[in-house]
Amino acid sequence: MSKNRGSNTGGSRIGSLLKEYSDAGYLRLSKLQKFIYKILRFFCSIPRAVGGFFVKLGRIVKKAAISLADNIKDIGATFVHGDWKTKTSFFIMGFGNIARGQVLRGILFLLFEIVFIVYMITAGGYWLSMLPSLGKQGPEQGYDPVLDTYTTLYHDNSFKILLYGVLTIFFIIALIYTWRLNVEQNKLAEKYLKDGKKLKSDKEDLRSMVDENFYKTLLALPLTGILVFTVMPIVFMILVAFTNYDGAHNGFSNNLFTWVGLDNFNTLLSWQSAGGGQSYSATFGEILAWTLIWAFLATFTNYFLGMFVAMMINKRGIKLKKMWRTILVMTVAIPQFISLLYVSKMFAKNGLINLTLKDTLGWISQPLPFWDDPTWARVTVILINVWIGIPYLMLITTGILMNIPADLYESARIDGANAWQQYTKITLPYMLFITGPYLLTSFTGNMNNFNVIYLLTGGAPTNPKASGAAGSVGYTDLLITWLFKITTGAESQYYLASVVGIMVFVVVALISLIVYNVLPSIKNEEDFQ
């Protein structure tokens, strides 16, 4: 606790280097001064925020350690003070429950233990023992006694070892948790009986599943799905980043793959050129930069233009509001791959637009390089994204715009604000305030906007400098389309894809963290302007 306080004051000491104004003092600053002051305050708050993060982390670790110690102590005490039923339950899970009449719970516990033991003996032990090496014996040419021929003999399978190894570890954690639960229940049951209370019967247990424990029933299915189809794969893929799993080491039919430590991260972040082209880090940097630019432009062009369209339709006196809206909304319904693919071909070298301009109208002699020139391609992608995005944003903003209290505008009009001032002083702050979280998700969504880029350009035009060892890389490629290309390309560098994926996570997480932690404080300061 004292340590925490120490680092806190450290943060504020740096903060106090900058003079903190009182409210009145701040209000007397000029606009420019206020602006500079705010920026300075922002940077001063960073050390404290970072410090706060580590303090929090430390607190969490400490809490975890304490609770672990408490748990162990509690388990020990339960064993020492428990009756024979409880003691037996330490080894035969659910015994205490069955002995005390809670048969259903007991059987579930026991079943889990039996399944676990059987699994560990038949398979889990093997997977776990192979996990450190990811397999010893790859495929070989050899004599198959069953088929009585010489053929390829398959032995260990690195992929399965990693997959089932991870699963086994999950299983072990689940067992430890369940075992702890079993001990806890025995302890509670003993205490209940000693206090003269009655234990829940099986029937009551079942009934509670639709009442006070209904949330467990409801969450069981969704969480299992997420665990198996999201958490596990992500853990697996994070681990892949530390192996050399790729097309040439698929762990089964050609070569086994194995742990390589941090090599892949070194490769991606090193400045050494790879495979004749530029270094991975340069390629990564280029793609990351474009990804961020794209996400920023895609988010804000859509946001402001969408809001603009919504305001036009919403304006008092404009008729046929419903029709305008429906026209735009209709485009939301049409599956994106149709509209995107169609538009992409429209802008192609021999697509509708170029052919019309060249052949039908004769305005140009050479086709316009919509998808062939890096700058043209990037601009076109952003413009088409506006076309895709505006209806959606129009819908969202319409709802919020209509919720802005009309008396705010009335009072502003009486105060003498013109339309522009009303927009900048009322509409925009209100919108930004309400849609702040949406903008963040929309930004990160655009960073990972696979569909728009892949269906429009497929990443084209190719960036010859960047392409090479990292596969074919284009000027409009985002990290996410690059990732896709890496895994589907000829070399299938899964390990690289997984490192890139982790990088995407790091970038998204960093941005979210900053926005979540910093934006509100800035907002609060703006509130008293």
Binding site: L163, R207, V210, D211, E212, Y215, L218, L219, L221, P222, G225, I226, M232, I234, M237, M312, K315, I318, T326, I327, L328, V329, M330, T331, A333, P335, F337, I338, L341, Y342, V343, S344, K345, M346, N350, L352, T356, D359, T360, W387, L395, T398, G399, I400, T435, Y438, T441, N448, N451, L455, L479, I480, L483, F484, T487, A497, S498, G501, V504, A509
Partner: protein, 288 residues
Amino acid sequence: MSKSNKHHMGIRTLNRVSNGAIYTLLAIISIIWLIPFVFIVLQSFRVENTYQVGYVIPQQWGFQNYINLWNSDFKRWYLNTFIIALAAAVLQTVIVLCMSYTLSRFRFKLRGPLMRFMLILGMFPGMLTMIILYRVLADLGLTQANAVPGLILVSVASSGMGYYVSKGFFDTIPKSLDEAARVDGATRLQVLTKIILPLAKPIVIYTILTAFMGPWGDYVFARYVAFGTSSGYNVAVGMYSWLTNDQIDRMYTTFCAGGVIVALPVTILFLCLQKYYVEGVTGGAVKG
């Protein structure tokens, strides 16, 4: 009196001018937004050429492209997609509603950590999990020709993470209704079925609608899972293959026809349920 009247006239003419400008702009916007779709429809009826040309209105009209569709694998892709969409609409809705109702209504110890955990999970690019999911599905025999159940499984399994919008809606239903019902003798299950669900009709429809529409545009994972086996494609993957460089000159107008067939039912359904969609989308953005 006369002066104020004049001023009044000024506002009125100004209004008229700005309204006129807005109408023009809206008309232009509407045209830009609709043009590609009009073009698709027109070109789907073009008989004379199957590749891209420099004009829009067909010189020769006919149903040749639609007949081509009927004779291609398109039927199969369409059926695949329809089955996936239907299954997703049912299962995904159930899962999303379970998740969002729980997170909106129950306060349990792990609720906060759970929501934070899912937020963090969502920051990993989903594509990363494709490689392993593909291998797992392949082991289960749910790829290529059997891609449909595989795609259903994958699209449904993790849908619990998309609980935000409907949780936001549930949050707007006063909690005192639950409490009153519980005092009245309802179990939590009865609270859900008798009180909350009847009141949550808009969000249920929204969830069904978005879940149904999703698979029609799903390209990347479907391509991954069904790669190389036409009978396992959905419409997006199948029709994408028509626009590759070696196919486009033969299949361009067929693609347009396919686009019309795919877009039509979805769009009609969407326009009928537009109200609920707008409600869900707006609520979701406000809740964040």
